[in-house]
Symmetry: C2
Subunit: 191 residues, 2 copies
Amino acid sequence: MNGGLRERKKAKTREAILREAFRLFRERGYHATTVEQIAEAAEISPATFFRYFPAKEDLVRLDRFPPLVEALAEQPPGRPVTVLRGAFRAAFASLSAEEIAAGHEREVFAATVPELLVANLRRSPDLIREVRALVADRAGLAPDDPGVRDAIGAVFGVVAMVWLEWARTPGMDGPAEIDRALANLESCLRG
Amino acid sequence: MNGGLRERKKAKTREAILREAFRLFRERGYHATTVEQIAEAAEISPATFFRYFPAKEDLVRLDRFPPLVEALAEQPPGRPVTVLRGAFRAAFASLSAEEIAAGHEREVFAATVPELLVANLRRSPDLIREVRALVADRAGLAPDDPGVRDAIGAVFGVVAMVWLEWARTPGMDGPAEIDRALANLESCLRG
DNA sequence: CCAATTCTGATAGTTGACTCTCAGATGAGA
DNA sequence: TCTCATCTGAGAGTCAACTATCAGAATTGG
């Protein structure tokens, strides 16, 4: 039931969809990639695509970026900004190993993330709530503490700005720049 | 040529489209409102709608929120965060007068702005560049100064978070909360 | 008042996201 | 192996954003 063939096949299909989708996004952009093309690349029917992802937009939800959420849960206690900065650091470190090995790190992020951040700000209060809960927990604060909210806003705002710049600046070291920018934040935002 | 009848009519049509569109957005949400409905409410044909706005999304561009841009230009010199905070303050003050009088202030913002912020983050590097230039000017820094970038990111991130909360918290004083949150930022972010 | 320009509505068409249905395939459990 | 539940592809269909065309109406400048 759990590790059955059926489950494994589904997981494989899901991965194939995501892999092909992001490859196509990288090659030709999000809007220029149709669901039909993704389905064809993943060797499934368009109808099946929607059985895995109710909407095309769901492909780019932030929970599709597990390293960050995982990294958040693993951060040592600290102030909100510190926790978030540490999580980004850790997430990048874990991903860089893989992606650098594949030689695509920067492209991957540049292509996927602007859409990703945006789609999520608009569509998933759930994710925000989750991040908020995680950060609050690590910081020993209530989830509805304004300090947590403000820290998350500031951090993601800064990350978004750097990311946009990174996407169009070839020589840039994105993770380092993000970390540097977050360091500036770390010195203030109390709570 | 400039104040001609033709120009005035176009301006009127444009205003009608925007007014009706936002009214409908407020009533039933952005996605649930079709261009056809907007066109009907504004008493034009759907085809004409697209002559005024190439895409539905263009209705919610941030340059449709002039008070902020104007307020930015009018801010006294100061550090980036200070300038931005002051601009938000001023923008709210100017708008509140009108909107409070009409009795819709909060609804208007709650309905329009999440879409607005998001659509712009994704679609208009131009606007970001403009804001960046304005802030940099007021702060006496270069437009590509990382400090300016980070301040803008942090400020808009915080504002976005508060706005989302505001949209679903009836009793909340949005502008005040935003100002309070920005005050926390003001003490750090150098340059 | 006339002619050139511009704007508009009507209409039809394209595209792509998303839904529905149904019959056949396939893994799960006995 | 047999049956049941689930998954899939195929195909047709809906809906809304957006485009293209074109003839008629209105505004302009002279």
